[in-house]
């Protein structure tokens, strides 16, 4: 027991939690925007892969790191354009389109990878984002270590703040929240349902791709297949967990990351010698499902989520 307490109070543990949470936060905010506008974006998993790949490839080809982030974002938005064109004006099934986009995006990444690096056995490494040195903060004893994070992590938290601010403080956010609840109300007030929904999906997909790029540009410094590893699906669950609210979704991402960081460390304790490691791997998912059940009971789903809107039809 005291070992768990030791883990929980160590600064390195919290540094890991924040690091693991960052890509989740970015992609969760992206998904949250889409769903608030009424579009379930199951393309998320593939869009994260594309983000991870294009960001890394751009940097390896010589772009600066932020250039890689921008390329990843652009690639994500392109897939967002595809996803939203099919689901919004054409009104196709959001599940089918989403899964299709995921398949298309991840196989596009594999294909491009093989095309560009035909002979390589181990993927080349890039020079990733370094932890930021923040004058006074870094000198603090415990917090200095826990908050020794890259600029992309800080950006993730800033994005969460910006999403919350936009949703609740700007007329744009008002329109987004309305279009996911009752598109007819939005049209009756003279706004374009199609424009709002497509915009939300495109921007949201851009954020998902940046979440993917975090993995290559800030965490692992290289791209390999299967590196996204279900994080996209986790983010879809985190949106539900957060009750479609950015603050709670952010907390959910941190909580999940904490379970994940904890299970890695638990494997190294004497418990790890007794129990099979698969059990530890499953821990964050089991705990998340429990938390999801507890938290999402009274959540308010956007009423028009997954309901296509066709002007001029009843």
């Amino acid at each position: 027991m005291s070992e768990i307490v030791d883990i929980l109070i160590s600064a390195s543990f919290w540094a890991a939690v924040i690091r693991i949470a960052s890509p989740l936060i970015l992609a969760t905010m992206g998904e949250l925007i889409c769903e608030r506008a009424g579009v379930l974006n199951l393309g998320i998993e593939g869009i994260m892969v594309i983000g991870a790949f294009t960001g890394w490839m751009a940097v390896w080809q010589g772009l600066p790191l932020w250039g890689g982030v921008a390329v990843a974002m652009g690639a994500g938005m392109l897939f967002g354009l595809l996803q939203s064109t099919l689901t919004v004006p054409f009104g196709l099934s959001q599940h089918v389109v989403g899964l299709g986009v995921t398949l298309l995006a991840s196989s596009t990444a594999s294909f491009a990878y093989r095309l560009m690096l035909p002979e390589v056995t181990s993927p080349p490494k890039i020079e990733p984002f370094r932890p930021l040195d923040i004058p006074l903060l870094s000198a603090l004893p415990w917090a200095g270590e826990a908050l020794s994070q890259t600029a992309l992590t800080w950006a993730a938290f800033a994005v969460a703040g910006a999403v919350a601010w936009t949703l609740y403080r700007t007329p744009l956010g008002l329109a987004l929240r309305a279009v996911g609840e009752n598109p007819a109300a939005v049209e009756a007030q003279g706004l374009s349902v199609t424009g709002l929904r497509m915009g939300a999906v495109i921007v949201g997909s851009g954020l998902m791709a940046v979440g993917g790029a975090f993995l290559t540009l800030s965490a692992f410094s290289s791209f390999f297949f299967g590196m996204v590893n279900g994080r996209g699906w986790i983010c879809v669950a985190l949106v539900v967990f957060g009750g479609w609210k950015p603050g709670k979704a952010l907390l959910g991402a941190i909580l999940f990351a904490a379970f994940d960081a904890l299970q890695i460390r638990l494997q190294q304790t004497e418990l790890g010698a007794v129990l099979p490691y698969q059990l530890f791997l499953a821990l964050p998912f089991i705990l998340s499902i429990l938390a999801l059940i507890l938290m999402s009971r009274r959540a308010e789903v956007p009423a028009a989520l997954m309901v296509p809107y066709n002007k001029g039809e009843r």
Binding site: P171, R177, A178, E181, A184, A188, Q189, G190, A303
Partner: protein, 512 residues
Amino acid sequence: MPEAEIVLRLDRISKRFGALKANDAVSLTLRRGEVVALLGENGAGKTTLMNVLFGHYLADAGTIEVFGQPLAPGNPRAALAAGVGMVHQHFALAGNLTVLENIRLGTERLWARGVGAAREKVERLSRDFGLSVHPDARVGRLSVGERQRVEILKALYRDARILILDEPTAVLTPQEAEALFATLRRATGLGLSVIFISHKLHEVMAIADRCVVLRHGRVVGAVDTHATDRGALAALMVGGELSLPRAEARAAGAVLMRVDGVSTPDRGAVPGLKAVTLDLRAGQITGLAGVSGNGQAALAEIIGGLARPASGRLTLRDRPVRDWSPGIALAQGIARIPEDRHHQGTIGDFDLTENAVLETYRSRFSRRGWMNWRAARRFAEAIIKGYDVRCPGPETRIRLLSGGNMQKLILGRALAGGSIREAPEIILANQPVRGLDVGAIAYVQSQLIAARDRGTAVLLISEDLDEIMGLSDIIHVMSQGRLSPGFARGTMTAPELGLWMAGQKFESAHAA
């Protein structure tokens, strides 16, 4: 008096849906400060015309001029900018937002701020027009009456000069309707012009200056209100004379169902039942009068099997009821005409055949797990024919029907054997004619009387005292969850019932 300026001119608007001509070269003018009533049967094309005007639909032909300027078609934003405001038949509000947010939606540049001024304006408007509603209340929690005030405020907030109200009173209590008329009079006094759609002719006579009547998508008449009367308007609407059915008194049969001392818990502001005892007899129409929200919904749920009493009991043909669910209620011969036809009565994306057999597909239209679609379709066709449901055919999705025609299908389903016993023994009719045109009302009421004459027990829940007094053999009044004693046909006047509805008589009866 010189004629006021023309603010709106619709010129030969046509709109088709497939083979159906919903609007056929409809022309209409509206003057400053005027209230024009748009009348017509269910499905005559009133809502369609207004949707064309507001830009929800794109007309196939015809032009619109607002204040002398042509209006860009198919664009609500242009309509709003030109000063047209619309209160939709099915409100266009986002339930997750507050009143103020719904009103502000779409009025500001998307990145701007400035809530303070908006709040002041909304507060001023709600004071000036007598539209009281809290700006920070969540719309999803509001009553229909309050929601409607939000819809009107939305239009006024944008400085609408032309206000379209599509069946605004269909869901209002009589008191709320009175308040709405007071608001409208104030608005026209300030120079607003109003297009008012309603099936309630006494309202039209009270508020409108002119009436335009549509039938099958065409204008069949335009008259000054003071030069006509209700009978003439009704005749114009249905294209012939119309007589409202009146039930003659008849001897009642045995008690089929007894609600015995039933109580239910309060639900927020809506009172639960307070030890209600009520008998439903064969061959009798029992009228339940009262302002809605006084426990009628709770009683209907108990009888229909959607809820169980917290205390008290239910007996059916002298046997106490133990298990109780909508399915059992149906199997026991209780047919429901639900109050909310969109949510409880039908499934919008199902076609008419599927909706017609929704309650009985397992018992009557399937054998060994296989649907008998041929029989189901015949059943649907019989309802469509017998109950005059206007639609392209039984394979139409029901959401495309006008409200009135949807209601006729539900009625047909309930009366033509909602249960396995073919004809139902008890009919629970909750606001059965809400939103129906005069012809359809007469038809539905005559069907309820015919069912009674065949020995069915009918419970008629309605806010309309004329309807209650015209049809019921025995009348009860509900107020605050309490039930008055039963009054036989003809023993009560409307003002006396009004006192019971207001709850005053309960107090005096209690004191005595």
